[in-house]
Protein backbone atom coordinates (compact mmCIF):
# COMPACT_ATOMS: atom_id res chain seq x y z
CA UNK A 1 0.00 0.00 0.00
CA UNK A 2 1.17 3.53 -0.72
CA UNK A 3 2.72 5.49 2.09
CA UNK A 4 1.19 8.72 3.38
CA UNK A 5 3.31 11.28 5.20
CA UNK A 6 1.86 12.76 8.37
CA UNK A 7 3.51 15.87 9.79
CA UNK A 8 3.71 15.57 13.57
CA UNK A 9 2.71 18.55 15.70
CA UNK A 10 4.31 18.04 19.09
CA UNK A 11 5.65 20.02 22.03
CA UNK A 12 8.99 18.61 23.23
CA UNK A 13 7.92 15.10 22.30
CA UNK A 14 4.29 15.30 23.48
CA UNK A 15 2.14 14.67 20.41
CA UNK A 16 -0.84 16.98 20.05
CA UNK A 17 -4.24 15.43 19.44
CA UNK A 18 -4.82 16.70 15.86
CA UNK A 19 -1.82 14.63 14.73
CA UNK A 20 -3.41 11.46 16.14
CA UNK A 21 -6.59 12.31 14.24
CA UNK A 22 -4.49 12.68 11.07
CA UNK A 23 -3.07 9.18 11.56
CA UNK A 24 -6.63 7.83 11.62
CA UNK A 25 -7.49 9.65 8.39
CA UNK A 26 -4.16 8.71 6.78
CA UNK A 27 -4.98 5.01 7.16
CA UNK A 28 -7.94 5.50 4.81
CA UNK A 29 -5.60 6.49 1.98
CA UNK A 30 -2.42 4.54 2.74
CA UNK A 31 0.17 3.54 5.32
CA UNK A 32 1.00 6.40 7.67
CA UNK A 33 4.63 7.45 7.89
CA UNK A 34 5.08 10.15 10.53
CA UNK A 35 7.62 12.98 10.35
CA UNK A 36 8.64 14.39 13.74
CA UNK A 37 11.07 17.30 13.90
CA UNK A 38 12.91 19.25 16.56
CA UNK A 39 13.49 18.82 20.25
CA UNK A 40 11.97 15.56 21.52
CA UNK A 41 11.19 14.22 18.03
CA UNK A 42 12.30 10.71 18.98
CA UNK A 43 10.05 10.70 22.05
CA UNK A 44 6.96 10.86 19.87
CA UNK A 45 7.52 7.41 18.36
CA UNK A 46 5.68 5.24 20.91
CA UNK A 47 2.50 7.35 20.76
CA UNK A 48 2.62 7.53 16.96
CA UNK A 49 3.13 3.75 16.69
CA UNK A 50 0.10 3.13 18.94
CA UNK A 51 -1.98 5.17 16.51
CA UNK A 52 -0.90 3.56 13.28
CA UNK A 53 2.45 4.97 12.17
CA UNK A 54 4.35 2.21 10.39
CA UNK A 55 7.45 4.36 10.41
CA UNK A 56 8.56 7.51 12.23
CA UNK A 57 11.10 9.73 10.48
CA UNK A 58 12.84 11.97 12.99
CA UNK A 59 15.32 14.81 12.85
CA UNK A 60 16.46 17.01 15.70
CA UNK A 61 18.20 20.32 15.09
CA UNK A 62 18.19 23.72 16.76
CA UNK A 63 17.07 25.33 13.48
CA UNK A 64 13.47 24.14 13.98
CA UNK A 65 13.08 26.30 17.07
CA UNK A 66 15.42 29.14 16.13
CA UNK A 67 14.01 30.01 12.70
CA UNK A 68 10.49 30.36 11.35
CA UNK A 69 8.75 27.70 9.22
CA UNK A 70 11.35 27.13 6.46
CA UNK A 71 13.55 24.51 8.25
CA UNK A 72 10.41 22.40 8.68
CA UNK A 73 9.62 22.78 4.97
CA UNK A 74 13.16 21.64 4.10
CA UNK A 75 12.73 18.55 6.28
CA UNK A 76 9.31 17.67 4.93
CA UNK A 77 10.63 18.02 1.40
CA UNK A 78 13.47 15.64 2.28
CA UNK A 79 10.87 13.20 3.63
CA UNK A 80 8.80 13.45 0.44
CA UNK A 81 11.91 12.70 -1.62
CA UNK A 82 12.80 9.74 0.62
CA UNK A 83 9.34 8.19 0.69
CA UNK A 84 7.49 9.26 -2.52
CA UNK A 85 4.18 9.32 -0.64
CA UNK A 86 0.66 9.20 -2.07
CA UNK A 87 -0.21 12.28 0.00
CA UNK A 88 1.11 14.57 2.71
CA UNK A 89 -1.17 15.41 5.62
CA UNK A 90 -0.52 18.36 7.95
CA UNK A 91 -2.59 19.66 10.88
CA UNK A 92 -4.46 22.87 9.98
CA UNK A 93 -2.75 25.19 12.42
CA UNK A 94 -1.55 28.59 11.20
CA UNK A 95 1.99 27.24 10.99
CA UNK A 96 0.86 23.91 9.55
CA UNK A 97 -0.84 25.67 6.65
CA UNK A 98 2.27 27.74 5.92
CA UNK A 99 4.50 24.66 5.97
CA UNK A 100 2.10 22.77 3.72
CA UNK A 101 1.81 25.64 1.24
CA UNK A 102 5.54 26.10 0.79
CA UNK A 103 6.05 22.36 0.50
CA UNK A 104 3.33 22.08 -2.16
CA UNK A 105 4.93 24.85 -4.22
CA UNK A 106 8.36 23.25 -3.99
CA UNK A 107 7.22 19.79 -5.07
CA UNK A 108 4.92 21.13 -7.80
CA UNK A 109 1.74 20.02 -6.07
CA UNK A 110 -1.64 21.44 -5.24
CA UNK A 111 -2.73 22.20 -1.70
CA UNK A 112 -6.06 21.88 0.06
CA UNK A 113 -6.44 23.51 3.48
CA UNK A 114 -8.88 23.05 6.35
CA UNK A 115 -10.31 19.72 5.24
CA UNK A 116 -12.95 18.45 7.66
CA UNK A 117 -12.97 14.92 6.25
CA UNK A 118 -10.87 12.79 3.94
CA UNK A 119 -11.60 9.66 1.95
CA UNK A 120 -9.88 7.60 -0.72
CA UNK A 121 -11.00 8.33 -4.29
CA UNK A 122 -10.22 6.92 -7.74
CA UNK A 123 -7.97 9.90 -8.47
CA UNK A 124 -6.43 10.30 -5.04
CA UNK A 125 -7.68 11.52 -1.67
CA UNK A 126 -10.92 13.50 -1.70
CA UNK A 127 -11.16 16.26 0.89
CA UNK A 128 -14.38 17.64 2.31
CA UNK A 129 -14.28 21.34 3.17
CA UNK A 130 -16.81 23.57 4.81
CA UNK A 131 -16.89 27.03 3.18
CA UNK A 132 -18.70 30.38 3.22
CA UNK A 133 -19.27 30.30 6.97
CA UNK A 134 -20.16 26.61 6.66
CA UNK A 135 -23.12 27.32 4.39
CA UNK A 136 -21.58 25.06 1.72
CA UNK A 137 -19.76 21.74 1.78
CA UNK A 138 -17.32 21.07 -1.04
CA UNK A 139 -15.48 17.98 -2.24
CA UNK A 140 -12.05 18.72 -3.67
CA UNK A 141 -8.94 16.91 -4.77
CA UNK A 142 -5.45 17.81 -5.82
CA UNK A 143 -5.06 17.35 -9.56
CA UNK A 144 -1.30 17.90 -9.95
CA UNK A 145 1.58 16.41 -8.01
CA UNK A 146 1.44 14.78 -4.58
CA UNK A 147 -1.65 15.95 -2.71
CA UNK A 148 -0.77 18.18 0.25
CA UNK A 149 -3.76 18.49 2.55
CA UNK A 150 -4.20 20.23 5.88
CA UNK A 151 -6.93 18.91 8.15
CA UNK A 152 -8.83 20.80 10.85
CA UNK A 153 -8.76 19.50 14.42
CA UNK A 154 -11.75 17.38 15.49
CA UNK A 155 -12.27 16.07 11.95
CA UNK A 156 -11.89 12.43 12.98
CA UNK A 157 -12.09 10.41 16.15
CA UNK A 158 -8.71 9.23 17.40
CA UNK A 159 -8.43 5.45 17.01
CA UNK A 160 -5.70 3.24 18.38
CA UNK A 161 -4.19 0.99 15.68
CA UNK A 162 -0.87 -0.44 16.83
CA UNK A 163 1.80 -0.48 14.12
CA UNK A 164 5.54 -0.95 13.96
CA UNK A 165 6.50 2.71 14.34
CA UNK A 166 10.09 1.97 13.42
CA UNK A 167 12.19 5.06 14.04
CA UNK A 168 14.45 6.18 11.21
CA UNK A 169 16.68 9.22 11.17
CA UNK A 170 15.70 11.59 8.37
CA UNK A 171 18.59 13.19 6.54
CA UNK A 172 17.97 16.92 6.11
CA UNK A 173 20.06 19.58 4.40
CA UNK A 174 18.80 23.04 5.25
CA UNK A 175 18.27 25.47 2.38
CA UNK A 176 19.78 28.94 2.21
CA UNK A 177 16.33 30.32 3.07
CA UNK A 178 16.09 28.26 6.28
CA UNK A 179 17.75 30.86 8.47
CA UNK A 180 16.00 33.87 6.91
CA UNK A 181 13.63 34.64 9.76
CA UNK A 182 15.12 34.44 13.21
CA UNK A 183 13.03 33.76 16.31
CA UNK A 184 14.75 36.12 18.75
CA UNK A 185 12.53 35.37 21.76
CA UNK A 186 9.78 32.96 22.66
CA UNK A 187 7.32 33.29 25.53
CA UNK A 188 5.34 30.11 26.08
CA UNK A 189 1.65 30.74 26.59
CA UNK A 190 0.74 30.47 30.23
CA UNK A 191 -1.25 27.30 30.71
CA UNK A 192 -4.79 27.78 31.99
CA UNK A 193 -5.07 24.04 32.62
CA UNK A 194 -7.95 24.01 30.13
CA UNK A 195 -7.86 22.23 26.76
CA UNK A 196 -6.51 24.06 23.71
CA UNK A 197 -9.39 25.94 22.08
CA UNK A 198 -9.04 24.50 18.57
CA UNK A 199 -8.63 20.93 19.84
CA UNK A 200 -11.25 20.85 22.59
CA UNK A 201 -14.20 18.47 22.37
CA UNK A 202 -16.36 21.05 24.16
CA UNK A 203 -16.11 24.85 23.88
CA UNK A 204 -17.98 27.30 26.10
CA UNK A 205 -17.96 30.84 24.70
CA UNK A 206 -19.00 34.21 26.04
CA UNK A 207 -19.93 37.34 24.14
CA UNK A 208 -21.18 40.85 24.55
CA UNK A 209 -23.85 39.67 26.98
CA UNK A 210 -21.19 38.64 29.50
CA UNK A 211 -20.73 42.36 30.01
CA UNK A 212 -17.32 42.62 31.69
CA UNK A 213 -14.02 40.81 32.12
CA UNK A 214 -14.83 39.84 35.71
CA UNK A 215 -18.03 38.10 34.59
CA UNK A 216 -16.07 35.67 32.43
CA UNK A 217 -15.52 33.74 35.66
CA UNK A 218 -18.99 32.22 35.30
CA UNK A 219 -18.19 31.16 31.72
CA UNK A 220 -14.94 29.60 32.97
CA UNK A 221 -16.75 27.81 35.78
CA UNK A 222 -19.16 26.25 33.27
CA UNK A 223 -16.23 25.29 31.04
CA UNK A 224 -14.45 23.65 33.97
CA UNK A 225 -17.53 21.66 34.93
CA UNK A 226 -17.50 20.17 31.41
CA UNK A 227 -13.72 19.95 30.93
CA UNK A 228 -14.14 22.46 28.12
CA UNK A 229 -12.09 25.23 26.52
CA UNK A 230 -13.20 28.85 26.83
CA UNK A 231 -13.93 30.93 23.75
CA UNK A 232 -14.99 34.53 23.27
CA UNK A 233 -16.72 36.50 20.54
CA UNK A 234 -14.98 39.38 18.83
CA UNK A 235 -17.13 41.86 20.74
CA UNK A 236 -15.90 40.44 24.06
CA UNK A 237 -12.28 40.42 22.88
CA UNK A 238 -12.43 43.93 21.43
CA UNK A 239 -13.86 45.13 24.73
CA UNK A 240 -10.78 43.70 26.43
CA UNK A 241 -12.73 41.16 28.50
CA UNK A 242 -10.89 38.09 27.22
CA UNK A 243 -7.61 37.47 25.31
CA UNK A 244 -7.55 37.45 21.52
CA UNK A 245 -6.05 33.95 21.56
CA UNK A 246 -9.50 32.76 22.65
CA UNK A 247 -11.44 34.56 19.94
CA UNK A 248 -13.74 32.32 17.92
CA UNK A 249 -14.76 33.57 14.51
CA UNK A 250 -13.66 34.60 11.07
CA UNK A 251 -10.77 36.72 12.30
CA UNK A 252 -10.08 34.53 15.29
CA UNK A 253 -9.97 30.76 15.60
CA UNK A 254 -12.16 28.33 13.81
CA UNK A 255 -13.45 25.58 16.10
CA UNK A 256 -15.30 22.41 15.35
CA UNK A 257 -16.02 20.73 18.69
CA UNK A 258 -18.55 18.04 19.59
CA UNK A 259 -20.40 20.62 21.67
CA UNK A 260 -20.40 24.43 21.43
CA UNK A 261 -22.17 26.49 24.08
CA UNK A 262 -22.62 30.17 23.19
CA UNK A 263 -23.55 32.45 26.07
CA UNK A 264 -24.54 36.05 25.45
CA UNK A 265 -23.51 35.79 21.80
CA UNK A 266 -25.96 37.05 19.20
CA UNK A 267 -24.40 35.08 16.35
CA UNK A 268 -23.10 37.60 13.83
CA UNK A 269 -21.98 36.00 10.54
CA UNK A 270 -18.32 36.52 11.50
CA UNK A 271 -18.80 34.47 14.66
CA UNK A 272 -20.82 31.81 12.89
CA UNK A 273 -17.99 31.38 10.40
CA UNK A 274 -15.79 30.16 13.22
CA UNK A 275 -18.14 27.72 14.97
CA UNK A 276 -20.83 26.58 12.59
CA UNK A 277 -19.25 23.18 11.96
CA UNK A 278 -19.63 22.30 15.64
CA UNK A 279 -21.56 19.03 15.94
CA UNK A 280 -24.01 20.16 18.63
CA UNK A 281 -24.74 23.84 19.23
CA UNK A 282 -26.35 25.27 22.35
CA UNK A 283 -27.08 28.94 23.02
CA UNK A 284 -28.16 30.99 25.99
CA UNK A 285 -29.34 34.51 25.18
CA UNK A 286 -31.83 37.01 26.54
CA UNK A 287 -32.92 38.01 23.06
CA UNK A 288 -35.24 35.43 21.53
CA UNK A 289 -34.58 37.03 18.11
CA UNK A 290 -30.77 36.54 18.24
CA UNK A 291 -29.61 34.87 14.99
CA UNK A 292 -27.65 32.27 16.98
CA UNK A 293 -30.98 30.56 17.74
CA UNK A 294 -31.30 29.70 14.03
CA UNK A 295 -28.35 27.34 14.46
CA UNK A 296 -28.98 25.69 17.77
CA UNK A 297 -29.88 22.17 18.67
CA UNK A 298 -30.96 23.50 22.03
CA UNK A 299 -31.50 27.10 23.05
CA UNK A 300 -32.44 28.81 26.27
CA UNK A 301 -33.99 32.25 26.06
CA UNK A 302 -32.98 33.76 29.35
CA UNK A 303 -30.49 35.77 31.35
CA UNK A 304 -27.09 34.06 31.21
CA UNK A 305 -26.39 35.28 34.74
CA UNK A 306 -29.24 33.04 35.93
CA UNK A 307 -28.95 30.17 33.47
CA UNK A 308 -25.18 29.60 33.33
CA UNK A 309 -24.56 29.30 37.11
CA UNK A 310 -27.64 27.07 37.45
CA UNK A 311 -26.35 24.89 34.62
CA UNK A 312 -22.88 24.67 36.15
CA UNK A 313 -24.33 23.75 39.53
CA UNK A 314 -26.53 21.07 38.01
CA UNK A 315 -23.64 19.56 36.02
CA UNK A 316 -21.39 19.50 39.08
CA UNK A 317 -24.20 17.91 41.11
CA UNK A 318 -24.70 15.21 38.47
CA UNK A 319 -21.00 14.44 38.48
CA UNK A 320 -21.38 13.86 42.21
Amino acid sequence: MAEVLVYVDHVDGAVRKPTLELLTLARRVGEPVAVALGNGAGDTAATLAEHGAVKVLTHEAAEYADYLVVPKVDALQAAVEAVSPAAVLVPSSAEGKEIAARLALRIGSGIITDAVDLEAGDEGPVATQSVFAASFTTKSRVSKGTPVITVKPNSAAVEAAPAAGAVEALSVTFSAAATGTKVTARTPRESTGRPELTEAAIVVSGGRGVNGAENFAIIEALADSLGAAVGASRAAVDAGWYPHTNQVGQTGKSVSPQLYIASGISGAIQHRAGMQTSKTIVAINKDAEAPIFELVDYGVVGDLFDVVPALTEEINARKG
Partner: protein
Protein backbone atom coordinates in the same frame (compact mmCIF):
# COMPACT_ATOMS: atom_id res chain seq x y z
CA UNK B 1 17.28 55.71 1.33
CA UNK B 2 13.96 54.72 0.00
CA UNK B 3 11.58 51.96 0.93
CA UNK B 4 9.17 50.43 -1.55
CA UNK B 5 6.21 48.68 0.07
CA UNK B 6 3.76 46.59 -1.94
CA UNK B 7 0.51 45.74 -0.17
CA UNK B 8 -1.42 42.81 -1.62
CA UNK B 9 -5.18 43.13 -1.26
CA UNK B 10 -8.19 41.13 -2.34
CA UNK B 11 -11.64 42.08 -3.49
CA UNK B 12 -14.03 39.61 -1.87
CA UNK B 13 -17.77 38.95 -1.77
CA UNK B 14 -19.37 40.57 1.28
CA UNK B 15 -19.59 37.92 4.00
CA UNK B 16 -22.90 39.30 5.17
CA UNK B 17 -24.33 38.65 1.70
CA UNK B 18 -25.67 35.34 0.41
CA UNK B 19 -22.52 33.80 -1.04
CA UNK B 20 -22.65 30.81 -3.35
CA UNK B 21 -21.01 29.03 -6.25
CA UNK B 22 -21.38 29.58 -10.00
CA UNK B 23 -22.03 26.64 -12.35
CA UNK B 24 -18.30 26.03 -12.84
CA UNK B 25 -17.87 25.79 -9.02
CA UNK B 26 -15.95 29.05 -8.78
CA UNK B 27 -17.17 31.73 -6.42
CA UNK B 28 -20.17 33.51 -7.86
CA UNK B 29 -19.24 37.16 -7.84
CA UNK B 30 -22.27 38.50 -9.68
CA UNK B 31 -24.90 38.07 -7.01
CA UNK B 32 -23.09 39.52 -4.02
CA UNK B 33 -21.53 42.93 -3.52
CA UNK B 34 -17.77 42.94 -3.26
CA UNK B 35 -15.44 44.92 -1.05
CA UNK B 36 -11.85 45.18 0.15
CA UNK B 37 -11.27 42.12 2.36
CA UNK B 38 -11.47 43.37 5.94
CA UNK B 39 -8.28 41.56 6.90
CA UNK B 40 -6.42 43.41 4.14
CA UNK B 41 -7.38 46.77 5.64
CA UNK B 42 -5.02 45.88 8.49
CA UNK B 43 -2.23 45.33 5.96
CA UNK B 44 -2.85 48.72 4.36
CA UNK B 45 -2.91 50.32 7.81
CA UNK B 46 0.42 48.78 8.84
CA UNK B 47 2.05 49.77 5.55
CA UNK B 48 0.89 53.35 6.10
CA UNK B 49 2.17 53.32 9.69
CA UNK B 50 5.55 51.98 8.59
CA UNK B 51 5.63 54.79 6.04
CA UNK B 52 4.63 57.44 8.59
CA UNK B 53 7.19 56.22 11.16
CA UNK B 54 10.05 56.08 8.68
CA UNK B 55 12.73 58.66 8.02
CA UNK B 56 13.14 57.15 4.58
CA UNK B 57 11.32 58.08 1.45
CA UNK B 58 8.54 55.46 1.42
CA UNK B 59 6.23 54.56 -1.44
CA UNK B 60 3.19 52.38 -0.73
CA UNK B 61 1.80 50.55 -3.74
CA UNK B 62 -1.36 48.52 -3.41
CA UNK B 63 -1.72 45.49 -5.68
CA UNK B 64 -4.68 43.29 -6.50
CA UNK B 65 -5.49 40.49 -8.90
CA UNK B 66 -9.14 40.34 -9.83
CA UNK B 67 -11.98 41.34 -12.13
CA UNK B 68 -12.88 44.89 -13.17
CA UNK B 69 -14.77 45.53 -9.93
CA UNK B 70 -11.64 44.80 -7.91
CA UNK B 71 -10.67 48.42 -8.64
CA UNK B 72 -13.06 49.28 -5.79
CA UNK B 73 -10.70 47.54 -3.35
CA UNK B 74 -7.77 49.54 -4.75
CA UNK B 75 -9.71 52.81 -4.48
CA UNK B 76 -10.46 52.09 -0.83
CA UNK B 77 -6.76 51.48 -0.11
CA UNK B 78 -5.78 54.62 -2.03
CA UNK B 79 -8.32 56.67 -0.10
CA UNK B 80 -6.79 55.37 3.13
CA UNK B 81 -3.47 56.80 1.96
CA UNK B 82 -1.61 54.40 -0.35
CA UNK B 83 0.36 56.20 -3.07
CA UNK B 84 -0.45 54.18 -6.15
CA UNK B 85 -2.16 51.02 -7.30
CA UNK B 86 -1.67 48.12 -9.67
CA UNK B 87 -4.57 46.07 -10.96
CA UNK B 88 -3.82 42.74 -12.63
CA UNK B 89 -6.83 41.80 -14.69
CA UNK B 90 -7.18 39.17 -17.39
CA UNK B 91 -10.09 36.98 -18.49
CA UNK B 92 -7.80 33.97 -18.33
CA UNK B 93 -7.43 34.44 -14.56
CA UNK B 94 -10.96 33.17 -13.86
CA UNK B 95 -10.79 30.21 -11.48
CA UNK B 96 -7.14 30.67 -10.45
CA UNK B 97 -6.25 28.83 -7.21
CA UNK B 98 -3.89 29.90 -4.42
CA UNK B 99 -0.79 28.50 -6.14
CA UNK B 100 -1.67 30.39 -9.35
CA UNK B 101 -2.57 33.57 -7.49
CA UNK B 102 0.79 33.53 -5.75
CA UNK B 103 2.48 33.23 -9.16
CA UNK B 104 0.66 36.26 -10.54
CA UNK B 105 1.26 38.31 -7.39
CA UNK B 106 4.94 37.36 -7.24
CA UNK B 107 5.53 38.35 -10.88
CA UNK B 108 3.68 41.62 -10.37
CA UNK B 109 5.59 42.38 -7.15
CA UNK B 110 8.89 41.76 -8.94
CA UNK B 111 7.86 43.95 -11.86
CA UNK B 112 6.73 46.73 -9.53
CA UNK B 113 9.94 46.55 -7.48
CA UNK B 114 9.79 46.11 -3.69
CA UNK B 115 11.65 46.05 -0.41
CA UNK B 116 8.71 44.88 1.67
CA UNK B 117 5.47 43.05 0.87
CA UNK B 118 2.63 43.44 3.38
CA UNK B 119 -0.42 41.16 3.28
CA UNK B 120 -3.41 40.41 5.43
CA UNK B 121 -3.38 37.14 7.39
CA UNK B 122 -5.97 35.55 5.07
CA UNK B 123 -8.76 36.59 2.75
CA UNK B 124 -12.23 36.61 4.23
CA UNK B 125 -13.60 34.42 1.43
CA UNK B 126 -11.16 31.56 0.82
CA UNK B 127 -9.63 31.98 4.32
CA UNK B 128 -6.69 29.70 3.43
CA UNK B 129 -4.03 32.03 4.84
CA UNK B 130 -1.30 30.58 2.64
CA UNK B 131 -0.60 33.28 0.05
CA UNK B 132 1.96 35.26 2.13
CA UNK B 133 4.02 32.08 2.74
CA UNK B 134 3.72 31.18 -0.96
CA UNK B 135 4.92 34.66 -1.92
CA UNK B 136 7.97 34.35 0.34
CA UNK B 137 8.77 30.97 -1.20
CA UNK B 138 8.38 32.30 -4.75
CA UNK B 139 10.27 35.54 -4.15
CA UNK B 140 13.02 33.76 -2.21
CA UNK B 141 12.82 36.20 0.71
CA UNK B 142 12.08 35.71 4.43
CA UNK B 143 8.49 35.37 5.61
CA UNK B 144 7.64 37.28 8.77
CA UNK B 145 3.99 36.34 8.98
CA UNK B 146 0.94 36.56 11.24
CA UNK B 147 2.28 39.54 13.12
CA UNK B 148 0.29 41.40 15.73
CA UNK B 149 3.01 44.07 15.88
CA UNK B 150 5.42 45.12 13.15
CA UNK B 151 8.23 47.64 12.83
CA UNK B 152 10.77 48.36 10.10
CA UNK B 153 14.06 50.03 10.83
CA UNK B 154 17.49 50.09 9.16
CA UNK B 155 16.63 47.41 6.64
CA UNK B 156 15.27 45.01 9.27
CA UNK B 157 11.69 44.00 9.93
CA UNK B 158 10.73 42.91 13.43
CA UNK B 159 7.44 41.65 14.72
CA UNK B 160 5.50 39.61 17.23
CA UNK B 161 3.72 36.42 16.24
CA UNK B 162 1.16 35.05 18.70
CA UNK B 163 0.83 31.33 18.14
CA UNK B 164 -1.15 28.62 19.93
CA UNK B 165 1.70 27.55 22.16
CA UNK B 166 3.88 30.64 22.40
CA UNK B 167 4.35 34.26 21.48
CA UNK B 168 7.45 34.76 19.33
CA UNK B 169 9.58 37.78 18.47
CA UNK B 170 10.76 37.55 14.87
CA UNK B 171 13.38 39.36 12.88
CA UNK B 172 14.47 39.34 9.24
CA UNK B 173 16.41 41.48 6.79
CA UNK B 174 14.65 43.19 3.92
CA UNK B 175 13.44 42.36 1.37
CA UNK B 176 10.78 40.31 3.15
CA UNK B 177 7.12 39.31 3.11
CA UNK B 178 5.06 40.31 6.13
CA UNK B 179 1.49 39.40 6.99
CA UNK B 180 -0.44 41.04 9.80
CA UNK B 181 -3.38 39.91 11.92
CA UNK B 182 -6.46 41.80 13.02
CA UNK B 183 -4.64 42.49 16.28
CA UNK B 184 -2.08 44.72 14.57
CA UNK B 185 -4.17 47.84 14.96
CA UNK B 186 -7.51 49.21 13.87
CA UNK B 187 -7.52 50.33 10.24
CA UNK B 188 -8.18 54.02 9.65
CA UNK B 189 -11.29 55.32 7.91
CA UNK B 190 -10.66 57.21 4.69
CA UNK B 191 -11.16 60.94 5.16
CA UNK B 192 -13.12 63.03 2.67
CA UNK B 193 -9.80 64.52 1.59
CA UNK B 194 -8.38 61.02 1.19
CA UNK B 195 -11.32 59.95 -0.94
CA UNK B 196 -10.94 62.99 -3.20
CA UNK B 197 -7.17 62.53 -3.46
CA UNK B 198 -7.59 58.86 -4.35
CA UNK B 199 -9.41 59.79 -7.54
CA UNK B 200 -6.23 61.41 -8.84
CA UNK B 201 -3.81 58.67 -7.85
CA UNK B 202 -2.42 56.43 -10.58
CA UNK B 203 -3.88 52.95 -11.11
CA UNK B 204 -1.88 50.83 -13.51
CA UNK B 205 -3.53 47.92 -15.29
CA UNK B 206 -1.51 44.86 -16.21
CA UNK B 207 -2.57 41.67 -17.90
CA UNK B 208 -0.90 38.25 -18.09
CA UNK B 209 1.29 39.21 -21.07
CA UNK B 210 2.70 42.14 -19.06
CA UNK B 211 3.85 39.56 -16.50
CA UNK B 212 5.11 36.92 -18.98
CA UNK B 213 2.59 34.41 -17.68
CA UNK B 214 0.96 31.94 -20.07
CA UNK B 215 -2.81 31.53 -19.87
CA UNK B 216 -2.51 27.79 -19.10
CA UNK B 217 -0.43 28.52 -15.98
CA UNK B 218 -3.45 30.11 -14.29
CA UNK B 219 -7.24 29.94 -14.32
CA UNK B 220 -9.21 26.75 -13.97
CA UNK B 221 -6.92 25.02 -16.48
CA UNK B 222 -3.79 25.86 -14.51
CA UNK B 223 -5.26 25.07 -11.11
CA UNK B 224 -3.59 22.39 -9.01
CA UNK B 225 -6.82 21.49 -7.32
CA UNK B 226 -10.27 20.54 -8.59
CA UNK B 227 -13.59 21.11 -6.86
CA UNK B 228 -15.78 18.14 -7.79
CA UNK B 229 -18.86 19.21 -5.92
CA UNK B 230 -20.38 21.92 -3.79
CA UNK B 231 -23.56 21.34 -1.84
CA UNK B 232 -25.47 23.89 0.15
CA UNK B 233 -25.50 22.68 3.71
CA UNK B 234 -29.00 21.60 4.61
CA UNK B 235 -30.59 24.07 6.99
CA UNK B 236 -30.24 22.84 10.53
CA UNK B 237 -33.44 21.25 11.67
CA UNK B 238 -35.12 23.53 14.13
CA UNK B 239 -33.74 22.94 17.57
CA UNK B 240 -35.56 22.94 20.86
CA UNK B 241 -35.88 26.42 22.32
CA UNK B 242 -37.04 26.91 25.87
CA UNK B 243 -37.72 30.09 27.79
CA UNK B 244 -36.02 30.28 31.17
CA UNK B 245 -38.62 30.54 33.86
CA UNK B 246 -36.31 29.47 36.63
CA UNK B 247 -35.61 25.99 35.32
CA UNK B 248 -33.65 26.87 32.15
CA UNK B 249 -30.29 25.82 33.56
CA UNK B 250 -31.65 22.51 34.81
CA UNK B 251 -33.44 21.80 31.55
CA UNK B 252 -30.25 22.48 29.62
CA UNK B 253 -28.29 20.17 31.93
CA UNK B 254 -30.92 17.52 31.27
CA UNK B 255 -30.46 17.99 27.52
CA UNK B 256 -26.68 17.79 27.77
CA UNK B 257 -26.98 14.63 29.86
CA UNK B 258 -29.33 13.10 27.26
CA UNK B 259 -26.65 13.80 24.65
CA UNK B 260 -24.01 12.21 26.91
CA UNK B 261 -21.99 15.40 27.39
CA UNK B 262 -22.46 15.18 31.14
Amino acid sequence: MSLRIVVTVKYVPDATGDRHFADDLTVDRDDVDGLLSELDEYAVEQALQISENSDDDVEVTVLTVGPEDAKDALRKALSMGADKAIHVEDDDLHGTDAIGTSLVLAKAIEKAGYDLVVSGMASTDGTMGVVPALLAERLGVPQVTLLSEVTVEDGTVKGRRDGDAASEQLEASLPAVVSVTDQSGEARYPSFKGIMAAKKKPVESWDLSDLDIEAEEVGLEGAYTVVDGAAERPARTAGTIVKDEGEGGKQLAEYLASQKFV
